[in-house]
Amino acid sequence: MYAQMVKSEATQDDPDMLAAFQARVDAGEKIEPKDWMPAGYRKTLIRQIGQHAHSEIVGQLPEANWIARAPTLERKANLLAKVQDEAGHGLYLYCAVETLGVSRDELTEMLLDGRMKYSSIFNYPTLTWADMGAVGWLVDGAAIMNQVPLQRTSYGPYARSMVRICKEESFHQRQGFHVMMAMVKGSEAQKRMAQDALNRFWYPALMMFGPSDKDSVHSEQSMSWKIKMNTNDELRQKFVDETVPQAEYLGLTIPDEHMKWNEDTGHYDFTEPDWSEFFEVIQGNGPCNVDRIAARQKAWDDGAWVREAMVAHAEKKQSRKSAAE
């Protein structure tokens, strides 16, 4: 998902404290920043929420690529609003993770030097306008699937930021689907573009949920702490089941010849993505990893003087005010 392969930290805390903590989580109580929590819970959450925040911020880049080239003023305004939302979502999440005792600057530095990751999906290029449709429809659709249950996560600040994000995010998926609807009703060439976008984004979207449960080693602890609410495969299946009929409505073909409805399970059977590609992308070898980090690094470096000037200005204003008193 936006947080993939988050390593769950082993925890070496006092067994009585741990048991009391687990009882609170089991009872559905929210854990708040000043409450006692296992060191592993804190560390895992910093990694998970941080990765989620970074994904929102880096996720602006593939879409920003099309703002100036949107086909109409209305589509441009829609896309701008969506990208602005992603910035907001990143900020809600950074604030949530900062309550765990890590600073914003540290988080940014960890993203830039590779100690922290962001979702694999944002390392794929957006080549045509139809990609804006596919990203909204599939990528935001997959994100929603994960974020809705996370509104019930045990960590209060994380749960609250998820509530805000979910409220805002459904517009993102719908605007994407709307772009796709327009494309498939257009010329033959436009319809081909829509199909091509689906072909390229389908498997990367499936990868967003992370490796198959049988290879997902970190799930159990995170699930008992309620910082992961569903397994990767559960969410992936749910996404496939909801998306296939939407593709049919659009008259597009999911690029999977083994995709078929299974009467017995009540779900679609489908082909798993190529996990070796996923691990390559996570390792930094996807099509756009270098560009994405370079863009964030440039923004960080170019913005340094602004950050410093704002502080200097605030200090000057404050000292003038004190002098006048």
Partner: protein, 94 residues
């Protein structure tokens, strides 16, 4: 050597007469900057018509360890709630 902007807590009041409500936090160099940022981050969908910001370091908060002494005394005082007092139906609405 750059210094991180301080953290501010943001409170928004909507149009329907409710109190300002805590919505989240953000970083800003000073109060004016915090209000501008809060407008962008927390009111993109007409959530409010008034913003309060306060520097996080200025907030005093009760501690989780005081949970018992602070809130337990209220538990056994059910008579503070109107439903504690049974009023016969023939009295009518009260």
């Amino acid at each position: 050597m750059s210094k991180e902007w301080p953290l501010w807590e943001v409170f928004i009041r909507g149009t329907h007469g409710m109190s300002h409500r805590h919505v989240g936090s953000l970083h800003a160099a000073d109060a004016e900057h915090a209000i501008r940022n809060a407008r962008d981050v927390y009111t993109r969908r007409n959530e409010g018509v008034s913003i309060w910001v306060v520097e996080t370091s200025q907030i005093a908060a009760s501690s989780p360890s005081e949970k018992g002494p602070l809130y337990d005394p209220a538990r056994d005082k059910a008579y503070r709630h109107p439903t504690f007092f049974h009023i016969p139906e023939e009295v009518g609405k009260m």
